[in-house]
Amino acid sequence: MLEESEDMILKTRTLLDYYKNAKTKGVIEDADIISKDENISCGDEVKIYIKLDEDRKVREAKFTGHGCIISQASAAMLTEMIKGKSVEELSKMDKKELLDAIGVPLGPVRIKCALLSFKVMKKGVLEYIAKKV
């Protein structure tokens, strides 16, 4: 029980590091995809910017926003994770990939925080694909 708790605190510390020192925080001025959403009930907000290369793969992804550690750290992780992936791959990406990376067990309330960035990314990608077809 105690070890489990320590492991969780360790994982939380990783999240905290992403939260405080997100390498992908910022704006991409000439982004191909810009998407934004918020969780009204907790006030979390995430905006994702994606710049694609000529093969429609993610050259760079960044995010801005504010809110709880989970929502912001997950945005930081996600924008790192999707680098190099094609928009088609992103459109099929499973949320489990992001949840596994977060690693901390999340209850029904916090899972919404964790998946806010994922939802924002999906929305942007699907809109982009719909527009280009």
Partner: protein, 406 residues
């Protein structure tokens, strides 16, 4: 004084470990834990008396009917109602308010009529009334002062001849403010309006006398006062209940049924259609016995002591801002706060992970109040009879540790 150590022995859940630490349960405004006496009463009901009520002419049927009626009487005595028939069992406060809306308001209010509420109401005492806006009923909101008390002069201004109902919470679930409901009731009655009091946060910790308050409607939930979930109470004056039409139709609420009509049953059954939560009523009854045994005044004093201690100790914690009255004269043991630089959800998570402390975070179903305070969410610790000064020390110590997290 409460014998807290003795009381704690009655609550099996307090032995639970959370993240390797002994559970510290500070989420009592959301729901309280249940003493063995309540758990056993429910168990005993199912093991010895279980039968449907009112109709079965066999021993179990008669015993369960008696127990269910007795629960109404127990509640009536507890809140000093004139007659036990004024006690309607529902699922919770929310359902009680909905009952008043569907059975009384919808039939009695018309375009141009007004309802006066306060900005500190729980959504359960706002949203049902918003349903009447489609009928042209106007809602008006009383504001709060900087210290989290109601602006009493707003009542004088907002309650007019057009006002048909003043619906107000007895105690704020966010700020802990105790509202002067008796005084508010006078203003309402002077102008011909009825008074509905949301007692969800007051009944677990304050002596309630519905006739002294002169409440026309008083609602509360069992689960916030040591009882089980799924049982709540609507109290209303008998003459008002007699004039109201039920909004749930079916078995139990009728006297006789013909192909083209039916006649209503007597109070309170008229409003309790279908097989009710009999075991829940038995559990609530046991909860009232428990509270009476401890003494409501003792509970109030105990919470005040914990609150005073917290308000003093928390001043030493940097980055913490408290909302609500800073003195304990007119407040209960609900402490809403924010930690600068940390989202309330994160504060909750860290307290849970580091020390097994359960607090609430979010908008607490009071978005109007949150907006009024310029916030999206707060953290909230709320106390009850089994909480101790030692637990608060751990809470304060853990809050101090959060500095390292940001």
């Amino acid at each position: 004084m409460l014998n807290v150590e003795q009381i704690r022995k009655d609550f099996p859940i307090l032995n639970r470990l959370v993240n390797g630490k002994k559970l510290i349960y500070f989420d009592n405004a959301a729901t309280t834990q249940k003493p063995r006496q309540v758990i056993n009463a429910i168990k005993e009901f199912y093991e010895k008396y279980n039968a449907n009520i009112h109709r079965s002419i066999h021993t179990l049927g008669e015993e369960s009917t008696k127990l269910y009626e007795k629960a109404h009487k127990k509640v009536a005595d507890f809140i000093k109602a004139k007659n036990w028939r004024e006690i309607i069992f529902v699922r919770n406060s929310t359902e009680a308010i909905n009952l008043v809306m569907y059975s009384w308001a919808i039939n009695n209010l018309k375009t141009g009529d007004e309802i006066v509420l306060t900005i500190m109401e729980h959504h359960s005492n706002i949203v049902p009334w918003q349903y009447l806006q489609r009928k042209g009923v106007k809602l008006k909101f009383v504001d709060i002062n900087e210290n989290g008390t109601l602006k009493m002069r707003d009542f004088e201004k907002l309650v007019t001849d057009k006002t048909k109902l003043v619906a107000v919470t007895h105690v704020s679930n966010v700020l802990g403010t105790i509202n002067p409901v008796k005084e508010i009731g006078k203003i309402a009655h002077d102008r011909g309006a009825l008074l509905l009091v949301d007692g969800a946060q007051s009944i677990p910790r304050m002596k309630i006398d519905v006739r002294d308050i002169d409440a026309d409607f008083y609602v509360f939930s069992g689960h916030k006062m040591l009882g089980p979930t799924g049982i709540g109470v609507l109290y209303a004056k008998a003459e008002i209940l007699e004039s109201m039409e039920p909004f749930l139709m079916g078995g139990g609420m009728i006297k006789s049924v013909y192909t083209d009509n039916f006649t209503w049953n007597e109070l309170p059954w008229k409003f309790e259609a279908g097989t009710p939560n009999i075991a829940g009523a038995v559990g609530l009854s046991a909860a009232i016995d428990y509270i009476n045994g401890v003494g409501v005044d003792n509970i109030f004093r105990h919470e005040r002591r914990l609150t005073e201690y917290t308000l003093e100790a928390i001043r030493e914690v940097e980055n913490v801002k408290i909302f609500g009255p800073l003195d304990t004269k007119n407040r209960t043991g609900v402490i809403s706060f924010n930690y600068k630089g940390l989202h309330p959800h994160d504060v909750s998570m860290f307290l849970d992970q580091l020390a097994g402390i359960a607090i609430r975070s979010g908008h607490h179903c009071a978005q109007l109040l949150m907006r009024r305070l310029g916030l999206v969410a707060t953290s909230r610790a709320s106390y009850y009879i089994y909480n101790t000064i030692e637990e608060i020390d751990i809470f304060i110590k853990t809050l101090k540790k959060l500095r390292e997290m940001i």
